[in-house]
């Protein structure tokens, strides 16, 4: 109970409360806007977190992250156009319901289910994070190294046939992340005599470039808006219908479980969890044929799973200091910027921050639902915004943000270079998320590896002699060998 009040008190600070509100509203808009995902928005907004307290900064970005999940459902239901890939399954039953004049009911079902998913996953995170953190705090350097390697392999594996390209980009991220003065030996690495590079390549302009600028260039070079899709009319959602998801407790529970569990897995993403939850609901339904024709249970399954990802995704950041996807990697940048070390020590060092994050996740869900009750009819109109305008606006925002990272053009040039690299990668269908992950976890991975090898006097046996390290190393080996065997079979 004391921890709960600690969290509530932390988010009750005016600056933090304002950041949560701003992030939530912006997240809803981002979820609705065409072509702009939460990753892009969060990367572009990262510089804004410099001037505020860590919890306010993290709350702002979490608001965008969670709000976007809700926003995506509005367009899925009203105009059969998912704002996010994870909202596709909502469309299959939401649009038919809207077509037969039940748009308000579909929206209420979606918001109610997403609310339950978001709040329950935040509570699960609050309950599970501390015990997991107590376990991971016993990790030595070998276990930390093995865990970071496992996360990296799982992220690369999420790219399936792009596995080699993903590992290449991960290696590139790790390599680029080593630029600067080595903290242990004081040696200069890849600085090319430039003073700016002595403290390494700055993470924030890199993230702004790889996500924000690359996406903005793609948007402004795209075809613009096509013909406007037909829109179902919708008034404000009903409060009574908001409780309707509770009539499907089994579906709700299973979907929240699937969403939270998949959220923990690196790089898997919300789209898979909504798909799995939807088909599980269909499989266990007495009327499976009604799915796709406006079955409320389909919306409940998809939206509950979709929004419950957020809690799971934060678990590895808070307990291990390892992000699992682009959004949590960028959010981890806020910790880095403020000199806070995410991981098991966070619970002892900054309890108000950790419990503030749990409370923020619950508060954001509440704020988003309230905002959606009043603003839904207006939101669908945002889909009429031409993506090319968005591209131009995002570029200007990214430029100002990149400049603000160091009050000089150094950040701007780094962001532009990263943006051009991101665009090249997008054209080549080569992933950039592993590179950002490599940049974020590189320092920790190197420090742990060197420490582990120093303890074992250079012997790699340390990774198989300690029981926990051995289990994680075995998981690494299985995760690595399986796709290689599959690839060799295809040759």
């Amino acid at each position: 109970m004391h921890e709960l009040w600690l969290g509530v008190a932390a988010i009750a600070q005016p600056a933090t409360a304002l950041a949560l509100l701003a992030g939530s509203l912006l997240g809803i808009v981002i979820g609705v806007l065409p072509g702009v995902g939460p990753g892009v928005a969060i990367a572009a907004m990262l510089p804004l977190t410099y001037g505020v307290a860590p919890l306010a900064g993290i709350g702002l970005l979490l608001g965008v992250y969670v709000g976007a999940f809700y926003g995506g459902a509005v367009t899925s239901i009203l105009i059969r156009t998912p704002g996010e890939a994870s909202s596709i399954m909502t469309m299959f039953d939401g649009w038919p319901m809207a077509q037969r004049g039940e748009a308000e009911r579909a929206l209420s079902l979606a918001f109610g289910s997403a609310f339950v998913g978001g709040v329950v996953s935040a509570l699960v995170l609050a309950m599970v994070a501390q015990p997991v953190s107590a376990l991971t705090s016993r990790f030595g350097a070998a276990e930390n190294t093995a865990a970071a390697v496992l996360a990296a392999i799982l992220v690369a594996r999420a790219y399936q046939r792009q596995f080699a390209a993903a590992v290449m980009m991960l290696g590139l991220g790790l390599l680029v992340g080593t630029a600067g003065i080595d903290a242990t030996s004081g040696a200069q690495r890849f600085t090319f005599g430039l003073t700016e590079l002595q403290s390494g390549l700055p993470l924030v302009p890199m993230a702004i470039g790889l996500f924000g600028i690359a996406q903005a260039l793609v948007l402004l070079s795209g075809p613009g808006l096509g013909a406007a899709p037909p829109m179902a009319s919708a008034r404000r959602p009903h409060l009574a219908q908001f409780l309707e998801p509770l009539r499907y407790p089994r579906t709700l529970a299973k979907s929240v479980g699937i969403g939270t569990a998949i959220g923990v897995l690196p790089a898997v993403g919300a789209a898979l969890s909504t798909t799995l939850a939807y088909f599980e609901a269909k499989r266990s339904s007495r009327e499976p044929d009604s799915f796709g024709r406006g079955n409320p249970e389909g919306i409940v399954a998809a939206e509950a799973a979709n929004n419950s990802n957020s809690g799971g995704a934060m678990l590895t950041v808070l307990t291990l200091g390892i992000p699992g996807d682009a959004v949590t990697a960028i959010i981890m940048g806020v910790f880095v910027v403020h000199g806070v070390v995410p991981g098991p020590s966070l619970f002892a060092d900054r309890p108000e921050l950790v419990h503030g994050i749990f409370a923020a996740l619950v508060a954001i869900n509440l704020l988003v639902v309230i905002a959606l009750f009043f603003g839904t009819p207006l939101l669908a109109r945002l889909t009429r915004v031409d993506p090319r305008w968005l591209g131009l606006c995002i570029l200007c925002f990214c430029m100002a943000g990149a400049y603000s990272t160091s009050n000089s053009f150094y950040g701007v040039w780094v962001a532009i270079a990263a943006g051009l690299l991101g665009l090249l990668c997008a054209w080549a269908s080569v992933p950039v998320v592993p590179m950002v992950l490599g940049l974020v976890i590189g320092d920790t991975m190197e420090a742990s590896l060197r420490q582990a090898l120093a303890v074992s006097d250079g012997s790699l046996r340390i990774f198989v002699e300690r029981p926990v390290a051995a289990v994680i190393t075995l998981c690494c080996a299985v995760a690595l060998v399986q796709p290689l065997v599959r690839a060799l079979r295809r040759l």
Binding site: L174, L217, G298, T383, G391, L395, N407, A426
Partner: protein
């Protein structure tokens, strides 16, 4: 729609209009993709070769695992080795002209450039490179206004609306970054030229 299958979970395009389930989606702009892939792989390999030459030396008496070059060397081998593996894959199995594309294996967080026009994107990138120079010369707000208007010409948008959007955007960004976050934007050179 009669029921839903896993295949219906198609990826949305960047305009977010979900395409119907399509088992054989032609790869859009395959030539751009091939050129970009070749340039990227060549750049990665060349970069790795350059950085390999610049690896820091191991201090005398330091064991291999304490060397500042150990971790960068591992990362370098990983990046270069996988770049070569991708090249080898491409040589053995060139990208198909039809069928599921490599982009289909990419999770949601990645940028989807399927509908991007390379010429427009190139012009946009050129404008972006000129933007910092314009900020130095005339200041942030006027440079932003000029950038947006020039951007509308590149994307085929109405420039008059660009004037309004650019003006509002410049004022908003100035208010947020300078007014709220006290970012010190550079003094425009034009003021010095005008003798102020």
């Amino acid at each position: 729609m009669t029921g839903v299958t896993l295949h219906d979970a198609a990826r949305p395009t960047h305009t977010n209009v979900v395409q119907p389930a399509a088992p054989d989606v032609p790869a859009a702009r395959p030539r751009t993709g091939q050129v970009a892939r070749t340039v990227l792989l060549a750049a990665v390999l060349a970069g790795c070769a350059l950085l390999a030459l610049r690896l820091p030396a191991t201090p005398p008496g330091e064991p291999w695992h304490g060397s500042p070059a150990m971790f960068p060397a591992l990362a370098l081998v990983l990046a270069a080795g996988c770049a070569l593996a991708v090249v080898w894959q491409r040589l053995r199995r060139p990208a198909p002209a039809a069928g599921p594309t490599a982009a289909d294996d990419v999770p949601d967080d990645e940028v989807d450039a399927t509908d991007s026009d390379p010429r427009r994107a190139g012009l946009g990138a050129l404008l972006l490179l000129l933007y910092p120079a314009a900020i130095t010369a005339v200041g942030f707000a006027p440079a932003t206004l000029v950038f947006v208007i020039a951007g509308t010409r590149v994307c085929g948008l109405p420039w008059r609306r660009g004037l309004v959007v650019g003006g509002v955007l410049a004022a908003t960004l100035h208010a947020v970054f300078v007014g709220l976050f006290h970012v010190g934007l550079p003094a425009p050179l034009i003021l010095a030229w005008l003798g102020r």
